[in-house]
């Protein structure tokens, strides 16, 4: 009698990766369409509206690029931590703290010229973002506390802190009671690239992305970090102890998410308000895993997920479909890509039983 057995697969064809990805996306799309049908909406119309909303106009393409900027920064940070198998799911809170830090600088020194104020805002946002990442990192290396839960709790705390500030001490006295700060001064606003609605922040993305690639590819520290993630036993041979790597990775991760919060508040809202939080920190996890942690692929995946966000907004407008549809698609994509990873590493073989 013959039996089916699961075995490790050595053969890794060039086309298998993309094929699995496309298959996973197709399954995710199919199930999402089914969810639309459950709500009594036409799945065909829904997917059409989704895609035309995401890719059908130059406005949509540009809007996706705008949303890809914070997503890319958060995701790059999250991916760096994932490399070391540190599960930083706190990008959302680190993003909030970055927005808070930059808002503090913008509201405290509105008179500074832009070439002083913007760097100061960048420093403040990176500092608070990194701090928010370091708290779980320190608890992890000193006591071994599970970073997944702590980073997540820090999200709730960070967002509540932001709410406290905009509902309380930082509320604009001339804002008719709305929970938002006063408008930033011109020198605190990261301008758009002329002729587009995309801010100069995208240049920061490119620079950070290149630096990250160089770091992992050409520096010894980057190599040690990768090695420690793939095999924790190799860590003792590295120059920097494992705990040092954890602190480093969480600080950088938090600073990057902090920058995303800074850019989002400064260039898109021109002030701090609760709506600055729109879930980039959680979507970043999907992006990082989809891109299998490589900086270049994260760029592509950020754009695609940002386009999905734009498409879902269109669905909301045209077909009154709840925004939660975006969460469903993100969750499904992640589940399908995870399951699809199986066919990359294993295959099913018939063996004599």
């Amino acid at each position: 009698m013959k039996k089916w057995r699961v075995v490790h697969s050595e053969d890794k064809g060039v086309l298998r990766g993309p094929a699995v990805l496309i298959g996973a996306l197709a399954v995710a799309l199919g199930v999402s369409a089914f969810m639309l049908a459950l709500q009594g909406k036409s799945p065909v119309q829904g997917l059409t509206v989704l895609f035309s909303g995401a890719f059908g106009s130059s406005y949509a393409l540009e809007d996706a690029l705008v949303k890809a900027v914070p997503l890319y920064l958060c995701s790059l940070g999250v991916a760096m931590a994932f490399r070391l198998l540190i599960w930083n799911i706190g990008a959302e809170g680190q993003f909030a703290l970055g927005a808070i830090g930059s808002a503090w600088a913008a509201l405290t020194f509105p008179g500074l010229p832009w070439f002083l104020l913007l760097p100061l805002m960048a420093v403040c946002s990176a500092f608070l973002g990194a701090l928010w990442g370091l708290v779980p990192a320190i608890l992890k290396v000193r006591l071994g506390v599970n970073e997944i839960i702590v980073t997540l709790m820090m999200n709730y705390i960070g967002i509540l802190l932001l709410e406290f500030l905009v509902f309380g001490p930082w509320k604009d006295p001339a804002g008719f009671g709305f929970p938002m700060t006063a408008m930033y001064s011109d020198s605190a606003i990261v301008a758009d690239i002329p002729g587009t609605s995309v801010s100069w922040g995208i240049v920061l993305c490119v620079v950070v992305g290149v630096l990250m690639s160089v770091f992992f590819r050409f520096t010894r520290l980057g190599f040690e970090l990768k090695a420690a993630g793939e095999n924790p036993k190799s860590a003792p041979y590295a120059r920097i102890p494992y705990s040092g790597l954890v602190l480093l990775v969480m600080a950088v991760s938090g600073a990057l998410a902090g920058w995303a919060g800074f850019l989002e508040a400064s260039s898109n809202l021109n002030r701090l308000e609760v709506s600055v939080m729109s879930g980039y920190g959680y979507t970043a996890i999907v992006v990082a895993w989809l891109a299998r942690l490589s900086p270049l692929r994260i760029g592509v995946a950020s754009y695609l997920l940002a386009a999905l966000m734009v498409g879902v907004e269109n669905l909301q407008l045209v077909m009154q479909i709840p925004a939660a549809f975006g969460d469903i698609m993100e969750g499904l994509i992640l589940v399908c890509v995870l399951a699809g990873g199986f066919s990359l590493n294993y295959r099913i073989k018939r063996v004599p039983g």
Binding site: R5, V6, V7, H8, M35, L38, Q39, W87, I89, L139, L143, G144, V145, N146, I148, I149, V150, L152, M153, M154, Y156, I157, L160, L161, E163, F164, F167, G168, Y282, I285, V286, W289, P322, A323, A324, F325, G326, D327, I328, M329, E330, G331, L332, L334, V335, L338, A339, G340, G341, F342, N345, Y346
Partner: protein, 306 residues
């Protein structure tokens, strides 16, 4: 006078601790089988909505309660499929389940926001509720709370006195050894995940059917994550989960009361309390080295042999 304030507070503590207790017990079962399921937050929401819809359609709270467990057990099957059969990363799959569950509940629940369902109401247990003090705290609750009093014992008996429970734990501790003893690792991991999902779903149903009687979005408010943390705090032991769950029930009841009384303290800080407490509780657990109580095979997929 003091008693007049403490009794309602403690009764509210038991009430808000109950969904957390149910979810924590569920996650204990799942983790005992070696499967880390971080989807609890999303699963609770799926259960809350499933229970609410069935109850609203049929008019039967009990049917809604059971349906919530069943729907959530099926939903947690996604996690089992991805991790047990497709060897997917357990952490990421759990996160995906949270994102997906939150999305599904908010998406399908949108038309029902603000609507009511019959749900469970409190009633006093004859005789027991006449016990001074304790009677009014413990025995003037709704039926689901009374059920929850028995569950830790039930879970304990299942895990340490039944054949299935012992095999589940073997699979969680030493998958390889269990396999050579002829126990089906995938089978028992599926069992643990779905049974745990069932209890988590009951916890979700408690939120929509007994706590609020109404559907609103984001009903769970982090309770799922608190449950994941409490599993560690509870040392993976069902009875220890009781203390942890009521501790958080207490802080939530306290926070609501202080808010209602009116205070100078900004509400944001009051709302932070459970999340800060979660971190504190975790730090204390690790300080005492409780992490060593984790099932040895937790979070590790059983590899197929070469």
């Amino acid at each position: 006078m003091i008693l007049e304030m403490i009794v309602p507070l403690l009764a509210a503590t038991v009430q808000s601790g109950t969904p957390i207790l149910l979810a924590t017990l569920g996650e204990i079962i799942t983790e005992k089988g070696g499967v880390l399921n971080l989807g609890v937050e999303g699963m609770m929401l799926v259960g809350a909505l499933g229970g609410f819809l069935v109850c609203q359609q049929t008019g039967s709270p009990w049917l809604g309660f059971v349906a919530a467990g069943a729907v959530t057990a099926l939903f947690s099957g996604v996690h089992a499929l991805v991790c047990v059969n497709f060897m997917g990363n357990q952490v990421v799959s759990g996160l995906a389940l949270t994102i997906l569950g939150t999305g599904v509940a908010n998406f399908l629940g949108t038309p029902f926001i603000g609507q009511e369902a019959p749900g469970f109401d409190g009633f006093s247990v004859p005789l027991l509720s006449d016990i001074p003090f304790l009677g009014r705290v413990l025995f003037s609750q709704d039926a689901l709370v009374y059920i929850s009093y028995f569950l830790p014992l039930l879970v304990f008996v299942f895990l340490s006195r039944t054949k299935w429970g012992l095999r589940l734990r073997a699979v969680g501790e030493h998958p390889e050894a269990a396999k050579s003893a002829g126990i089906s690792v995938p089978g028992y991991r599926w069992l643990g995940t779905m049974l745990g999902g069932f209890l988590v779903g009951l916890g979700g149903a408690y939120l929509s059917l007994a706590y609020t009687h109404m559907w609103t979005s984001d009903l769970s408010g982090g309770r799922g994550w608190i449950a994941v943390a409490l599993v560690i705090f509870a040392f993976w032991r069902p009875f220890r989960a009781i203390g942890g769950a009521y501790l958080f029930g207490g802080i939530m009841a306290f926070q609501l009361r202080v808010q209602a009384m009116g205070t100078d303290l900004p509400s944001s800080f009051l709302l932070m309390l459970p999340y800060v407490l979660t971190i504190v509780v975790l730090v204390l657990s690790y300080k005492k080295g409780r992490i060593y109580a984790a099932p040895a095979g937790l979070g590790v997929n059983a590899e197929p042999e070469e």
